[in-house]
Amino acid sequence: MRRVLPVLVVTLAIVVIWYVAAVWLNSAWVIDQAARAGREPSFMDILRGTMNQDRPLLPPPHQVLAELWELTVEKRITSKRSLVYHGLVTLQATMLGFVVGAILGVALAIGIVHSRTMDLSVMPWAIISQTVPIVAIAPMIIVLSNAVGIEGRTVPKTIISAYLSYFPVLVSMVKGLRSPEREQLDLLKTYNASRWQTFVKLRLPASMPYFFASMKVAVAASLVGAIVGELPTGAIEGLGARMLIGSQFGEPMIMWTALFAAAILAALLVVAVGIVQALAARAMGQVAR
């Protein structure tokens, strides 16, 4: 209860702000409509008119929730409109991309920490890789994987998702793996510990706070990657496709529900990482302060 109450209060506050914003943003349309019909809308008209528009600038919470409920609970999972189905499609790509990205990020960080050559030459290019707008090359990735003979959307989506998520892991892990104090390193030096041993026994455990902070960012980035990867693939399945379809066909509610489904998914993933982090911290003897 003590943990739920604050969340409830904050959520409530946000909902209130949201309603106010919805009325404010959506009212323009109501007024415009009325003006074209030659009427002067009353405040109540505006209020009513903003609560359930087909194409709202900002749909009020109840509208999003109702739609979400309909698309998740009331639809069969196998339905093309079921958000659970689309969510699972996206989740699969996210998890694949996240795993690949995390492994790649950690592996590169290990390389960079252990090899001066890698440090000097790879790091700048890892940065550059992130400045390449992924959406620009996503179509190329698909065209190329097509040309190479890879059918299906999973591989390109995984690539894009991993591409976005490896970087936060890399940056944090380089820092984390370098965070042991001199004395801690020297101790292992006197044991003539191998690089591998130094890594496993010291650098890795010392990097854990950085690791988990980056995992939370990376899992969110993976999701974004999966969604971006769903755009140029014919926009058929996945939450990204839903957003696009909603945007394309002028159906904001599809877009908003997909957006929310994605955010809920992201929040769940971040929470999951948080739980793993808490478990790991307990296993490593750190208590929550």
């Binding site: 104090e181 801690q184 101790l187 044991y191 026994k201 010392a206 003897g285």
Partner: protein
Amino acid sequence: MDADGAAVIEARDLDLVFETADGPVQALKGVSLSIGRGEFVSFIGPSGCGKTTFLRVIAALEEPTGGTITVNGVSPDEARRARAYGYVFQAAGLYPWRTIAGNVKLPLEIMGYPAAEREERVRKVLELVELSGFGNKYPWQLSGGMQQRASIARALAFDADILLMDEPFGALDEIVRDHLNEQLLSLWRRTGKTIGFVTHSIPEAVYLSTKIVVMSPRPGRITDVIESPLPAERPLDIRDTPEFLEVAHRVREGLRAGHAYDE
């Protein structure tokens, strides 16, 4: 005394300069010293005179900027790779994510001791430093002195030829300290290890050592090397004998001189 004469550590004309943002700091200057196999050498000197630095040079943790040093006839780094050193750092430096037993076990894991022997050694050595019940605790759950004892245990858990100890007993009370002094002496006699030992306690230095090295600061130099006339067998009450007091006096004079030089 117990030394068989062969030089294990041979330093000649060592210089070490640290480059810092506001100019160089000369931590060691023209340090020459020869330590024979099985010797127990204490280093004593004012704070900041370079004792830690010298120990670090021996253990290949610091590269001297001048002079030469050999350990077992090879470079310190080669000796390090042959796992010649056990090192007790001035700060306990326990890994916070490992229990006390886990910390003591660490070098054993690294050096590939079999699992059963590891447990046995950890048990024994924790008993030696009187931490038997605390194997499952984490470092921050121990008092300062207990942490330091854990770090001593960690260095004693495996069999290194050369034991380098940087103020290991600084945070211990007299009784435990006396006890550990005796334990260390008997371990040294039993194993014939070569020991380099930094301390600020003159009686401790005299009681333990076959050779006492007095250093003075800025730049860190050796001002006196005293060969102890005391016998190998040393009961605690040897500390009241005139020989003992005489050596202690000489050390104190050397120390005072260093300070005078400083100020």
